[in-house]
């Protein structure tokens, strides 16, 4: 069996835009090919209260890239005395990924944040930094094809936070059920201008 490096650990990440809010969700499985190693792997991380990044792909690069990005953002905060806007952060991630053009980080990031005037921003990019902006949803990981289908069917614009949570959770769980490499629950963040709600989903535990 040929080893596909992007499918080595298994992952699923999705982000959706709502009305002055966004949601970002991921699965929780960490595997080594067919064996499940952990069921509480953290794929989504907070950069600051209004910017989140979810990373799918090879787990070691997920962790290292996250550490590098937090490092860069902390320095930025100290120098500029402000938080990074989501668009700026996305440009930074893209630049950092392209630095390693000929030996890349094997990750696909999903970035979600609230920009100026609380306007939600989402984007994804490939492992060498090609940005893809979207107005509705972005997906990434081994379950991405199922996620595209589920999101396209379930998404509607201008959902409020609670309805957005339901929609993204259903899309995530139904997609990872069709993918043997991702699943074992879900981790969902719904972010509005006033609060961040973090929830764990219990789905099919396989």
């Amino acid at each position: 069996m040929a080893m596909q490096i992007f499918e080595y650990n298994g992952s699923a990440v999705v982000a959706m835009v709502g009305k002055n809010c966004f949601a970002i969700a991921s699965d929780r499985r960490l595997g080594v090919q067919l064996q499940t190693i952990a069921t509480d792997f953290q794929r989504i991380s907070k950069i600051h209260d209004r910017v989140f990044i979810g990373l799918s792909g090879l787990a070691t690069d997920v962790q290292t890239l996250y550490q590098r990005l937090v490092f860069r953002h902390k320095l930025y905060q100290l120098r500029e005395e402000r938080d990074m806007k989501p668009e700026t952060f996305a440009s930074l991630v893209s630049a950092i990924l392209y630095e390693k053009r000929f030996g890349p980080y094997l990750c696909q990031p999903v970035i979600a944040g609230l920009g100026e005037d609380d306007k939600p921003f989402i984007c994804t990019m490939d492992s060498i930094g090609a940005k893809e902006l979207a107005k509705d949803f972005v997906v990434s990981g081994t379950a991405s094809e199922s996620l595209y289908g589920a999101c396209e069917a379930m998404y509607k614009p201008d959902m409020e936070a609670e309805e957005l949570f339901e929609t993204i959770s259903q899309a995530l769980l139904s997609s990872v059920d069709r993918d043997c490499l991702s699943g074992w629950g879900g981790h969902v963040y719904v972010v509005t201008p006033t609060e961040i709600k973090e929830r764990i989903l219990k789905g099919r535990m396989d």
Partner: protein, 235 residues
């Protein structure tokens, strides 16, 4: 005095705790042509004398006020060639920031990086400090800003400042004339009057240069025709 024995080497402190080369650099600045800047409530103006060594020099080819980015401009007092080098480095740093973050560089960040370059030239082997002080004028999300950067690499934010030959008269004049709620056009008039204070000879649009930036966040050097209009208003 003990200091003079330490004045040749940049990287050696004198017994009085000074780097004498930097003092000399400041002297070079102090004998340069006067320049000044004023921060208004809705913009910033910077201006300088443009005394050319002979009437045969094509004054249109000389531009002392330069852009660093579309919304940040700079003027200097001191050595022109050193200024050119700093402008080049600063423009590159501003563009690198823009390439990385796809966002225009904030004024404070650009000033800090330029000042860092100037400081590096006070602590390296085989180089000398820059013989210029800069006045950086910009308008970004934090509003209008005016910064002075010295050869030592220290920088200060000013409401109004002057540098060069006529610095003490100019600063006294500015202290009297400056008000917090001044608008950009008032500031331009005040800048012209301040330049006039120590001006040798007749002031005209051919021997001064004025740059301004307003709430539109576009830095512009005024044309001689525009300067003539302001000069007429001041008379």
């Amino acid at each position: 005095m003990g200091d003079s024995q330490y004045s040749f080497s940049l990287t050696t402190f004198s017994p009085s705790g000074k780097l004498v080369q930097i003092e000399h650099a400041l002297t070079a600045v102090g004998s340069g042509q006067t320049s000044l800047g004023i921060k208004a409530s809705n913009g910033v103006v910077i201006a300088t004398e443009k005394k050319l060594p002979s009437i045969l020099v094509d004054e249109e080819s000389v531009q002392k006020i330069q852009h660093l980015t579309p919304n940040i401009g700079v003027v200097y007092s001191g050595m022109g060639p050193d200024f050119r080098v700093l402008v080049r480095k600063s423009r590159k740093q501003a563009e690198q920031y823009n390439r990385l973050y796809k966002e225009p560089i904030p004024v404070t960040q650009l000033v800090r990086e330029t000042a860092t370059v100037m400081q590096e030239f006070t602590q390296s082997g085989g180089v000398r400090p820059f013989g210029v002080s800069l006045l950086v004028a910009g308008y970004d999300d934090k509003g209008p800003q005016l910064y002075q950067v010295d050869p030592s690499g220290s920088y200060f934010s000013w409401k109004a400042s002057a540098m060069g030959k006529n610095v003490s008269n100019a600063k006294t004049f500015l202290e009297k004339r400056y008000t917090e709620d001044m608008e950009l056009d008032d500031a331009i008039h005040t800048a012209i009057l301040t330049l006039k204070e120590g001006f040798e000879g007749e002031i005209s649009s051919k021997n001064i240069e004025i740059g301004k930036i307003g709430a539109d966040k576009v830095f512009r050097v005024l044309t001689p025709a525009e300067i003539d209009d302001y000069l007429a208003e001041v008379e």
